[in-house]
């Protein structure tokens, strides 16, 4: 018997898409039955109260959660988000209901053994409700009480050999696409780089010392499956600078209709026979392709590596061999001055595990030094860049200025020359000047 009546939420149980309401109800039932005899460390019926307070929000059209109160584990400034209900008498099970972010493994592969350990811990010491995963990428545990925080952290680090993620003004949990593990487009090992940088910067991740949050995301190619160019202050996107590898036989296979174009991605509608001229050559943004006498050629020097032709004919075309990554900085959501995409900082860098990625780390640290010095409180890197000028960031990163860093050169001539840019500097003698010009 449900603790609270939830007539509105019940309407979200029908329809084809998996219902979170049905799922929470299942958890309520299982906790009530408690067949395994778990000694729940927070109220067993907290999922019931979560449904109750959510139903109340559906009636009121207003949230019933408060922020307020800093909670966390000793020595860390992030990873836990305090959360309190504003109707604690009605819903005591969720009166204190904090979030814990757990750092996910790169690429989000799991063994069931590890997942079950996480489940056991979270059933025992928390609500049994999670987000798989939060928007940044973490495993998100929704809802526990303050006394359980240290206990959960202790168990995570001692028994599960894993750590918390980030929150607050620190490095947020880095995230990556699945990269080379299962994608033929990956131009570098995104998972390895993500894992390496996450470990290198544990201090920055756990102890907020930045003006505001900072995110790393890693995409293996310009398709951008983890959206790094839109969602991370430091975005590493795989690319190549030699030739797209062409298998002419397979091209003929696509033209002849033996191979399904787009790896089958458009198979649900009859778009007519595949037309290589119309669907590939004419859509190439740099107009650098040509199909003549049954032969496809690409003027690779002009190719901007948009991925279209490769996505369309994956069995015929493959990424080049001289692979590496481009680095973009400063993406952010719209608050405050408007959304920003990442801006191209480094057109090409080799992603070199042998060197422990030192070249990339030098760039990261150069940027952090400047941002920590000059960034205002709650100013994302993208905003600092806008305020100070991109040149400052490029200098701080220690990389060369490059025409690729701009879409087009500036349209105003208001150049902030510095004294050292100008022959003879700025110190001049007015007396000398007056010798040439009368007052």
């Amino acid at each position: 018997m449900a603790k609270h009546k939830t007539p509105l939420l019940d309407q979200l149980e029908s329809g084809p898409w998996p219902s979170f309401v049905s799922d929470i109800k299942l958890e309520c039932e299982n906790r009530a039955k408690n067949e395994k005899g778990v000694e729940f460390q927070i109220p067993a019926d907290c999922p019931e109260d979560l449904l109750g307070v959510l139903e109340l929000s559906y009636v009121d059209g207003e949230t019933h959660w408060k922020h307020g109160g800093i909670v966390g584990v000793f020595g860390y400034g992030g990873g836990v988000i305090g959360r309190y209900c504003d109707q604690p008498e009605m819903f005591p099970g969720v009166a204190h209901f904090h979030t814990i972010r757990v750092n996910q493994p790169s690429g989000k592969y799991y063994t069931t053994e590890f997942l079950r350990q996480l489940c056991d811990l979270w059933e025992f010491r928390g609500s049994g409700l999670t987000n798989m995963h939060g928007a940044t990428g973490d495993i998100v545990f929704i809802g526990t009480t303050t006394p359980q925080l240290e206990e959960i952290f202790f168990e995570l680090t001692h028994n599960l050999n894993t750590d918390l993620g980030g929150s607050g003004s620190n490095l947020r949990t880095p995230a990556t696409c699945l990269g080379m593990s299962r994608c033929e487009y990956a131009c570098y090992d995104t998972q390895a780089l993500c894992f390496n940088l996450t470990n290198e910067y544990q201090d920055e991740l756990h102890r907020p010392a930045f003006p505001y949050k900072f995110k790393f995301k890693f995409d293996g190619c310009p398709n951008g499956c983890v959206a790094s160019i839109a969602r991370s202050d430091f975005s590493v996107i795989g690319t190549w600078r030699d030739e797209i590898r062409i298998d002419q036989e397979a091209v003929a296979g696509y033209v002849g209709g033996e191979l399904a174009p787009n790896a089958g991605a458009h198979a649900g509608r009859d778009w007519g026979k595949f037309d290589i001229q119309k669907e590939v050559i004419d859509l190439c943004p740099s107009e650098c392709m040509c199909y003549e006498d049954g032969k496809l050629s690409i003027n690779d020097k002009e190719c901007v590596r948009c991925m279209h032709c490769i996505n369309t004919m994956p069995r015929a075309l493959r990424i080049g061999n001289d692979r590496g990554a481009s680095i973009f900085v400063g993406a952010k959501a719209p608050i405050l001055d408007g959304a920003q995409m990442g801006s191209l900082l480094v057109p090409f860098v080799k992603v070199d595990a042998g060197n422990d990625y030192q070249e990339i780390k030098d760039i990261v640290e150069g940027i952090w030094d400047l941002w920590m010095e000059e960034g205002k409180n709650r100013e994302r890197l993208g905003e600092t860049m806008k305020r100070m000028g991109f040149q400052k960031i490029i200098e701080a990163a220690g990389v060369p200025f490059d025409v690729r860093q701009v879409q087009e050169p500036r349209t105003n001539p208001y150049i902030f020359w510095k004294a050292e840019d100008v022959e003879g500097g700025w110190d001049r003698d007015i007396v000398e000047y007056r010798k040439r010009h009368q007052q």
């Binding site: 309407q11 149980e13 029908s14 084809p16 898409w17 998996p18 219902s19 049905s22 299942l26 958890e27 000694e39 929000s57 559906y58 009121d60 059209g61 207003e62 959660w65 000793f74 020595g75 209901f97 750092n103 592969y109 799991y110 063994t111 069931t112 489940c119 049994g128 798989m132 995963h133 928007a135 240290e150 952290f153 202790f154 680090t157 050999n161 894993t162 080379m180 593990s181 299962r182 033929e184 990956a186 894992f195 544990q202 310009p222 951008g224 983890v226 839109a230 790896a263 089958g264 991605a265 458009h266 649900g268 509608r269 669907e279 859509l283 279209h308 994956p314 069995r315 719209p334 608050i335």
Partner: protein, 381 residues
């Protein structure tokens, strides 16, 4: 409910403390076939909706079955997912960026059997547990934020709006018949934790009333300078108010400057802004992330406000369907929603989608606004 210690000693927090160990190494979790062919993949094919085959240089083939789900999931549900992975995939699985679950097997027969099995599993309420789909030129799972389930500043619910939307576009999740992929995202307030600003279709919770000020409470609990500093538009200033002859230290809000972001409420619980009439959703369209053919792009606001209509937000889902249908009908193959709108012109977009253009859709926020006004004689009647 007796307290059971993990071994942690509150008297000596540093005793045996382990910190800064980072996440588990991903290599521990790779299925053997993935580990073996790591970095040596030749090509892939989507054999049918939700079923992918990746071919390696070694000749190995791995078959992936992708299924959707609510990202809010219970441990009961996760354990059931584990049971499936144990039964079919030797105890391995993965989650995608957009909250889908991927099961990997080594033969097409197993993949088909698994797909059938997944499509048969239902919740007591009737919905699918593991609908297979989310591949190719269709709609995949919606990425979203917390909403009324667990945040203090939402202007709408996240899980509910997502469920209602996915129910309405479900056929597109299980098909690949759109001109290009359509990515839908949802964030429940302007802060956009989910960063929905580059989605083909974005659902965004918005408030429309400035915060109320609970002066008597504020004096006791609010760090006034923090609340002042939290406001992105500088709308808050410290002040003194007189109530029943008593003077309180408080704040004043210059209401015409408020952008309804809720940051003040994060800092100061005496400044709530949620409101049943004031709150609702805006719809934004035409953003993209990938560099395919055209550049990544931001989403644009095309519907400034739709009231909250829990539990199923019928007006909102109707408008989303309208936009999706107009796009599916009119766009060219490979054209993302925003590319289509750019090609036909936004004046046509509003016409074809049956949307009304209002003053609220003309940007007036700081410098970038100018670049969105029309500075050419080229437009369509």
């Amino acid at each position: 409910m007796a307290f059971i210690s993990s071994g942690y000693n509150p008297e000596k927090p540093m005793e045996n403390r382990i910190t800064d160990i980072g996440p588990r190494e991903y290599k521990e979790f790779l299925p053997p076939i993935i580990e073996k062919n790591f970095g040596k993949w030749l090509y892939h094919e989507i054999l049918e909706p939700g079923l992918l085959m990746h071919k390696a240089e070694s000749g190995d083939e791995v078959y992936t079955v992708r299924c959707g789900g609510a990202r809010l999931m219970s441990v009961t549900h996760i354990r059931e997912i584990c049971d499936i992975a144990d039964k079919f995939c030797d105890g391995h699985l993965r989650f995608t960026t957009r909250n889908n679950i991927e099961f990997m097997v080594d033969s097409l027969d197993k993949a088909k059997e698994l797909k059938k099995f997944l499509n048969e599993q239902k919740f007591a309420g009737g919905s699918y547990k593991y609908p297979v789909g989310g591949t190719g030129a269709g709609v995949t799972n919606i990425v979203h934020t917390q909403g009324w389930v667990h945040c203090h500043t939402p202007a709408t619910d996240a899980s509910g709006t997502v469920k209602a939307t996915m129910d309405v576009v479900f056929e597109e999740f299980q098909n690949m018949r759109l001109p290009a992929p359509v990515r839908i995202s949802m964030a429940c307030c302007l802060n956009m934790c989910g960063a929905v600003h580059c989605s083909d279709i974005a659902i965004l919770g918005i408030h429309r009333k400035p915060p109320m000020i609970d002066h008597k409470v504020l004096d006791n609990i609010c760090e006034v300078p923090l609340a002042v500093a939290a406001c992105p538009t500088g709308a808050i200033r410290p002040t003194k108010v007189e109530i029943d002859g008593k003077s309180y230290k408080s704040v004043a809000v210059k209401e015409e400057r408020c952008m309804f972001c809720g940051n003040c409420y994060t800092m100061c619980p005496a400044m709530p802004l949620s409101d049943k009439e004031g709150d609702g959703v805006a719809l934004m369209v035409g953003g993209k992330i990938s560099n395919r053919i055209t550049k990544p792009a931001f989403s644009k606001v095309v519907v400034p406000f739709i009231p909250n209509e829990p539990p199923r937000w019928p007006t909102m889902t109707k408008v989303i369907k309208q936009i999706l249908d107009a796009y599916a009908e009119d766009a060219r193959k490979y054209e993302r929603l925003g590319d289509w709108a750019n090609r036909i012109g936004w004046e046509r977009f509003f016409e074809k989608c049956g949307l009304e253009f209002t003053e609220h859709l003309i940007d007036d926020f700081r410098d970038p606004a100018y670049y969105t006004w029309r500075q050419t004689t080229q437009f369509k009647f």
